[in-house]
Symmetry: C2
Subunit: 237 residues, 2 copies
Amino acid sequence: MSLTFFKSEMMSIDTSSLVDKVEESLVALLRERKLGVGDVIPKEIELAELLGVSRTVIREALTRLRLMGLIESKKRKGSVITSPDLFGMMSKSMNPHILDQDTLKEIFELRLVLEIGIADLLFHRVTKEDIDELKQIVADEPPVTQYHIFNIDYEVAFHSKLYEITNNQTLKKFQKMLLPVFDYVHHSGLLKKQSLLRTFVSHKDLVDILENGNPEKFRNGMRDHLENHFARIFDFS
Amino acid sequence: MSLTFFKSEMMSIDTSSLVDKVEESLVALLRERKLGVGDVIPKEIELAELLGVSRTVIREALTRLRLMGLIESKKRKGSVITSPDLFGMMSKSMNPHILDQDTLKEIFELRLVLEIGIADLLFHRVTKEDIDELKQIVADEPPVTQYHIFNIDYEVAFHSKLYEITNNQTLKKFQKMLLPVFDYVHHSGLLKKQSLLRTFVSHKDLVDILENGNPEKFRNGMRDHLENHFARIFDFS
DNA sequence: ATCTTTGATATGTCATACATAATACTAATA
DNA sequence: TATTAGTATTATGTATGACATATCAAAGAT
């Protein structure tokens, strides 16, 4: 037998634990039985018998599903299937103090990408009320000084509202999760200091574009509005 | 005592389970002790004693951390802290068959947002080799017919390469995770059928823009390239 | 008929024992 | 001496049984 044979054999050895397999089995089971949101799944002991493992393993597997937001467990009632919260879990590990620097910077970039990319969604879904609300937010902002020192609260309020307008909950949750990281990176020494070269497209300008312009203009406006951040990214390396 | 008193009492009752608390305690513990990637954490029994709970509870809590990608457990060695894989967990629940329709559509949108938003990253980081590779991919594609029936494989190859050029691993992983969902939504009856109105900006056009144009042109080009998808989204509701 | 109590039930927690795999240590062999 | 084979140790993985607790439902009291 050749060495490569052994290697391929080695590679194919199942390194997953029992719980891993049970987890898969459970997901498969749910799909098989076409169980949807709201349906209760068999109780732990039954599952243990069905799959031929101990309740401990079942419980660990169920814990994972619960963690994924796939099920919710209630005493006496059992576990019911719920619509998975994609970001519920993720947000727990989205801790700036734990993430490494590279990832942090990448998340910073990700936010910029999103803000520019949502232009079309915005224009298609924005309402008169949204425009009014944005105007109100802008009106409440302190006057922009020459040095463009922005208040993080107003910054968040404005951009959060934009995500809201997209009417895309997934996107909204995603942004909410990214926020603390963005804030952290912004204030940490991870990126080059702000250059403050010139005055950029303001929030007010963006609202104007959203009201009277088109997606293309908005993308360019947003790109310019974020120039400060982009400059910090690109200057770093 | 008034009713509202009772109500507020009720509300403030901690509904979280022991495991929930232990989980928080553990994360706090790690941060407190300033444990970084690679450090081993105390063994399960020690943690059980330290926090005054059974090993079962500790294990469930550790399972969660492991699931978050915060730690890795090895027999005999114990558990060591790892750099959390933000999307490792998420990708498990990113199962088209499990997600509800609204979320699926939102993810579909998310992909479009990303592709348009990455223009600046692309232009800042693209190399001559990348351009060549893209040209090669395009050259291998079958001729685009009038009806714009695209082959999903070539589609994926091209767009994946774009994400690669951004040199943003987080973004890349994110895209990889979104792919199956996008594919699923594309083929499912969730969205309106393709309208096939006209010929759009092709992959080749995009490469040209990336080579000779600027971010703004690329964003517009990509927007046009994706017009088909956007039309399906916006026509739905 | 309504409220209270009680009991049944399924998950939550605990304790213990054993299995398994990876490492460290020891001893045998060249 | 160095290398290998075997053995012991150790921490996680799995199994089992017991009890705690919360919730629902039915029986019972008002």
